[in-house]
């Protein structure tokens, strides 16, 4: 068993089948790459796992099968310990970086409205924690200097890193990254590779969707290839590179 175990997950939209019985597992603190041509169903897979879409059939188990995630809402799944970033950025553009990260702590603080109103000790301690740990996380992704800037003013690459910081604030066991280096220059890409490795050192497993082979190949321990909603190959990066089915899916068949 593994941290995340997905078995024969299917999802269709009307007549279009986005996922055709795909199975996938991610181990503790493992980095798994998910690749495939556009429209292969990678993001749909993410959406099903994080509860934004309800799968038609299949099983999603977490923490060695102890938790069944089928049918839970996105906020419940996050509480279970799966956080994600988005392909098209979804940072809170009009908030500061620190406020963005503070929202990530939402499920990790206990004090509610009454605590805030009465300024209880718990509220003060937790608010302080949110901002010190938030700042720490921003430094971790290399944005410490911009903590009070408005997120929307940051460069595209920095906003991507902010999304990662926000996801880390939720204290996940598994992080799903949807194309984290899309639209970045080579220097920024290298930074993200380093960042992902440092995240793994924190004992967080990572499932990453990425098109850029120069990023995904050195980073992943295992790669799953999808095409038209199904898994067509799985293995170590070296095997994948020479797999005829993968080459066919990417380059087209003769």
């Amino acid at each position: 068993m593994a941290l995340l175990e997905v078995r024969s997950l299917s999802k269709s939209f009307g007549g279009v089948t986005a996922l055709k019985g795909i199975s996938l597992s991610v181990g503790e603190a493992e980095i798994v790459g998910l690749i495939g041509p556009n429209g292969a169903g990678k993001t749909s897979f993410f959406n099903c796992v994080t509860g934004l879409l309800r799968a038609d059939s299949g099983e999603i188990h977490f923490q060695n099968g102890k938790r069944r995630l089928n049918g839970l809402g996105p906020n419940r799944i996050l509480e279970e310990g799966i956080a994600r970033t988005f392909q098209n950025l979804r940072v809170f553009k009009n908030m500061t970086l620190l406020e963005n990260v503070a929202i990530g702590f939402h499920t990790r603080i206990a004090s509610g409205l009454w605590d805030a109103l009465l300024r209880t000790r718990r509220h003060r301690v937790e608010e302080k924690m949110v901002f010190t740990r938030g700042l720490e996380l921003l430094r971790f992704v290399g944005l410490g200097a911009y903590a009070n800037e408005i997120a929307g003013n940051l460069s595209y690459g920095s906003q991507k890193r902010l999304e990662i910081a926000r996801a880390l604030a939720t204290d996940p066991k598994l992080l799903l990254l949807d194309e984290p280096v899309a639209g970045m220059n080579p220097v920024e890409k290298d930074e993200i590779i380093g960042l992902v490795r440092r995240i793994r050192e924190r004992k967080i497993a990572i499932l990453i969707i990425e098109h850029d082979m120069r990023v995904i190949m050195p980073l992943s321990e295992r790669i799953v290839v999808m095409d038209e909603g199904a898994k067509i190959a799985e293995g170590a990066p070296r095997e994948i590179r020479s797999d005829p089915r993968v080459i066919q899916a990417y380059l087209g068949a003769e």
């Binding site: 994080t50 934004l52 809402g73 996105p74 906020n75 996050l78 509480e79 956080a83 994600r84 988005f86 979804r90 940072v91 809170f92 553009k93 009009n94 908030m95 406020e99 503070a102 929202i103 990530g104 702590f105 939402h106 499920t107 603080i109 004090s111 509610g112 409205l113 605590d115 805030a116 109103l117 300024r119 509220h123 608010e127 408005i150 929307g152 926000r166 939720t170």
Partner: protein
């Protein structure tokens, strides 16, 4: 009356300004608060100070009841649902003759009594201080709220609901609480209104009032607590100042709103987050800093 407007606009601000949910039936919660106190007072002799929280709670209860089905729909649809609710409440009070006196309303509601000072009279001064205290209390509460996890969650929902839910925010629950809290404030305001007027009729709670309160929130600046108070002051006092031009009053009023939307769409005080959103746009158009 301006103070009551301030309470209402602060309450509506929670839903419209912070959470970004358009509520066009806010007067209904105001009405429920007013009628709750009126009925409790007339039938059971319930004093004002007990009626005040009860009116708030009843209104909040209806906030939850109406919020539960309607906050699942978004944007324009939510506006229509709440608009419908507002009308239903008004029409219900109009037609439930046996309890509410129908279009004639309820008369002879008792004024508040202060234990060290005696009953309030027609003199508006004590009401002014009462409402002032309530406005201050509400403002304090809302400022504390906006610094809390709940306040942050509300703003996150306004910014990007999907991302908020993926950050572990139970969007339905947070929106529901916002609805309830907002209804509570309206209920309190309704109770004070009933006690001051000593009479409640369905006419006082029509759609125009909902829109007027919404205009106050927008004018003052959405999501800005002092903005709501200022919006209420401006729109509450303006009609009095324009009394000489009675027949043109609404015309001038409308014109001001249009100018406002063109030159300062973020409201008089604006909102720290919305201001940032609108700022670059304004720079492009040149320095348009008239606040109308």
């Amino acid at each position: 009356m301006v103070g009551i407007y301030a309470l209402l606009s602060m309450g509506l601000n929670v839903v419209v300004g912070f959470a970004g949910l358009l509520n066009l039936g806010y007067a209904a919660f105001f009405a429920i608060g007013a009628y709750t106190y009126a009925l409790l007072n007339l039938n059971f002799g319930c004093p004002f100070w007990i009626g005040l929280p009860l009116a708030g709670l009843t209104s909040m209860f209806f906030g939850f009841v109406i919020g539960l089905p309607s906050i699942r729909v978004r944007g324009d649809y939510l506006a229509i649902t709440t608009l419908g609710f507002g009308e239903i409440v008004r029409i219900a009070f109009n037609n439930l003759d046996a309890w509410t006196g129908g279009p004639n309303g309820l008369l002879g509601i008792k004024r508040p009594v202060l234990w060290f000072w005696g009953p309030f009279s027609v003199n508006p001064t004590p009401y002014f201080y009462l409402v002032l205290a309530l406005v201050a209390l509400t403002a304090y509460f809302l400022f504390k709220m906006s610094d809390s996890k709940f306040g942050r969650a509300l703003v996150a929902i306004r910014e990007d609901e999907l991302a908020a839910s993926c950050m572990g925010i139970s969007t339905v629950r947070v929106k529901l609480y916002a609805f309830g809290l907002s209804a509570f404030i309206a209920g309190i305001a309704g109770c004070v209104f009933a006690a001051k007027q000593t009479i409640v009729t369905p006419d006082s709670f029509d759609f125009v009032l909902s829109v007027l309160i919404l205009a106050m929130v927008v004018l003052g600046g959405m999501g800005n607590i002092w903005g709501s108070v200022l919006g209420a002051l401006v729109l509450g006092i303006l009609p009095e100042l324009l009394r000489e031009f009675a027949s043109y009053r609404m015309l001038i009023f409308g014109l001001l709103m249009i100018l406002m939307m063109i030159f300062r769409p973020q409201g008089i005080l604006g909102n720290p987050t919305l201001r940032r959103e609108l700022a670059p746009e304004r720079r492009e158009k040149g320095e348009a800093n008239g606040s109308a």
